[in-house]
């Protein structure tokens, strides 16, 4: 079929050139911080009265997440909702104000791709060398250099997957098991999976992830407005009246160029060469642009060396490009800011006020009630008391608010709950029905901690049914 070339598009290989500058430094800083945290955190030890001595460990089997001095119980799952809301709102907020900040500086796809490009450069050399290598026929040199690159990529990918796994168990012990072949199957599978995805995404797919796979890059456009920061090429300055022009005879100084109507862009292509997604920023805002700022660094370097003013490529906004002034304080951003403060405030408040104990009472509904031989009516309940502290807590159970009723907790009227554990107790409540009594009455179950002044009683309401 003749049209088959049209149907599918080969990836155009991108060989980003290295660049030094403000934004590159910021990006290296963020990368160092992120990698430091990600790779080292599982190995940080932490003293706890009970539980593992690892600073951050997600104990799925014990259903507890230990994060420094905080223990997250399954009941606290709504914190996750708080964090997800916060993450989404922050994304909306920052995109509205400053564009794709997340993409350019924080996204793991960008971070890992950066590292992979760095490895590539380390082994194969700068952009021209890499282009030459990719074009030359297969020989020992190409095999050796590409092989080493891919090996190093795989090594980073493996470290990535392996470090992720270390968060879900006692890292030194799990690592030992891992390398002696005794780790649980999910540990190997997760490592293999993340090794593969990291290698494929950061090594092979790269900008294709941002352009074709990432949903955020597609829906971010709706968060942009005229005032959002975007990286843009100052067309007016760069093109002048006659367009950009390379440095040539009679096109050397600004005065010469301006007199000939040429713009300040010397068409060196550095901005295009450093772009990790292969975008030419001079064509305007594009879907492929992750706003990493490297083209700004590139252009600034050139402008500095020319002795001309910086900012031919710079953070700007559609409004500024049209001659206006960027307005940062927008109602939309203020609104997001308020929403972020509320969600962050509530989540932090909830985390600081994590109840040390909680209680839940489930009414047994089959049967709803039963008549006893004495003529009394009995209802049954399942009482759950959760001890989230790291101490053993002894509690006394009682039922209040129902006159004339007697409660029976079996042998567990006073019961000890182990640290970070819960108990489930069957309770029976019985009373003699009097004429005219409502068929449904409220009763409150309480668990009163004994000998712990800092713990207050917890209670839970339930219903008592009569025939």
């Amino acid at each position: 079929m003749s049209g088959s070339e049209h149907l599918y598009q080969d990836r155009t290989p991108i060989f980003p050139r290295t660049v030094k500058g403000r934004f590159r430094s910021i990006k290296w800083g963020i990368l160092a911080l992120a990698y430091g945290v990600y790779f080292l955190l599982p190995w940080v030890r932490w003293e706890r009265p009970v539980g593992p001595d690892q600073a951050v460990i997600f104990d799925l089997e014990g259903r507890l997440f230990y994060i420094f001095n905080m223990t997250v119980h399954p009941q606290d799952i709504f914190w996750l909702a708080g964090f997800l809301m916060l993450a989404a709102l922050l994304l909306f907020f920052v995109t509205g104000v400053a564009g794709r900040v997340f993409c350019g500086y924080f996204c793991f796809q960008t971070l890992w791709t950066d590292v992979y490009i760095w490895i590539e450069k380390l082994v194969q050399g700068e952009r021209p060398a890499r282009i030459r290598l990719s074009k030359q026929p297969w020989n020992v040199e190409k095999l050796r250099k590409l092989g080493l690159t891919h090996l190093l990529w795989l090594f980073v990918a493996f470290l990535t997957g392996f470090s992720f796994v270390m968060y879900w168990g006692n890292a030194p012990e799990l690592a030992m098991q891992f390398f002696t072949g005794n780790a649980p199957f999910p540990a190997y599978f997760t490592t293999l999976f993340l090794t593969t995805t990291t290698y494929v995404m950061a090594g092979l797919a790269r900008e294709q992830v941002c352009i074709y796979m990432c949903p955020y890059s597609r829906f971010q456009t709706v968060m942009f407005d005229q005032d959002s920061l975007i990286i843009s090429y100052d067309k007016q300055r760069g093109e002048g009246e006659q367009g950009r022009h390379k440095i040539a005879k009679d096109y050397k100084t600004l005065e010469e160029r301006q007199s000939k109507g040429a713009g300040d862009c010397i068409d060196c292509g550095y901005c295009f060469q450093v772009c990790p997604t292969g975008v030419d920023i001079r064509n305007g805002l594009q879907i492929g642009c992750i706003q990493c700022g490297l083209c700004i660094d590139a252009c600034d370097t050139i402008m500095d060396s020319m002795g001309w003013e910086r900012g031919l490529v710079r953070y700007s906004s559609e409004k500024e490009l049209a001659g206006g002034k960027t307005r940062f304080l927008k109602w939309k951003s203020i609104g997001y800011g308020i929403a972020i403060s509320i969600v962050a405030g509530l989540t932090i408040w909830s985390m600081l006020n994590q109840a040390p104990m909680d209680m839940h009472v489930l009414k047994m509904r089959q049967p709803l009630y039963v008549t006893l031989s004495s003529g009394e009516i009995q209802n049954s309940y399942e009482v759950k008391v959760n001890n989230k502290t790291n101490r053993e807590v002894r509690v006394r159970l009682e039922a209040k608010g129902l006159d004339g009723a007697t409660v029976d907790f079996g042998r567990f009227e006073e019961v000890t709950i182990k640290p970070e554990k819960n108990i489930r107790i069957m309770a029976r409540l019985k009373m003699k029905p009097a004429p005219g009594m409502p068929k449904q009455q409220n009763v409150t179950f309480r668990a009163i901690p004994l000998g712990h002044d800092d713990l207050s009683p917890v209670e839970f309401g339930a219903q008592f049914f009569l025939p």
Partner: protein, 306 residues
Amino acid sequence: MSETNKQEVETTGHAWDDGTLQEYNNPLPKWWVWTFYATCVFAIVYWILYPAWPVGKGFTTGIKTIEYQTADGQTVTTHWNMRALLQQEMQTGEEAVKQREYLEKITSSSFEEILSDPDKMAFVRSMGKVAFADNCAGCHGSGGNGVIGLFPNLVDDAWLWGGDIKDIQTAIANGRNGYMTAFANTLSVNEINDVSAYVLSYSMEGGDAASVQRGSEIFNGPKGGCTACHGADAKGMKALGSANLTDQIWTVADVPGAADYEAKKAAVMSVVKNGISREMPAWSGRLDDATIKLLTVYTYSLGGGM
């Protein structure tokens, strides 16, 4: 941005409406096709490993096998299938092993120890609930409230054969045969009426005094001989499983459900006339000791021991 859109864009060459309507060519990236090919390869590998294609009356079984133990302890190796995997997981799966360890703790503990340990009780209530639903709920209902006249209520405090934990264990392991003679041929309708009035007089007001008096003579005398089973105080005997007639609980005659005194008496009369014959099967041959123990404690926790 608008500048980019004005650039020449490659079209597919299709044109409609005199060429004013054209189609942009936005080709798929190549790796997308590779992904498709990869799924095809995956499918073929899957067909080779696992059961996949119907062939005649059978199917391709795949080369992967699975090993599990049957109920009678035989090790079976078969082509991979979900049912065998379930069997295997139930025998050697991580959770199954954990459950067995916990069950071991229950079997090796005395009733006294289980009842005093909140953790063990919580386990008994969780696993016992499932065993109860599988084996007992068919008659006694999923909550244990039974069916009046047929299957005893296990949630109240009336235990014909005793509500002590040992009694419950015996009942589950060995079964029970509940029997009461039918008096249709021994007593006249009037006499049955009188006896029923007398029986009701234990637990409620109303009824003709003379009738109750006559009934008392039949109940306590040789004619009815009711005290032989129900006892002189009519409170029943645990050893025989005879009912306590003096309390508020009726397991066979639906007295609480009847609207008025006459209907209540009719319910009792029906029992006296027709007698009772009901059976709880023995479970010792069908369930292992651990399950019986689990069910014993579970049932006890429902309403026993009161």
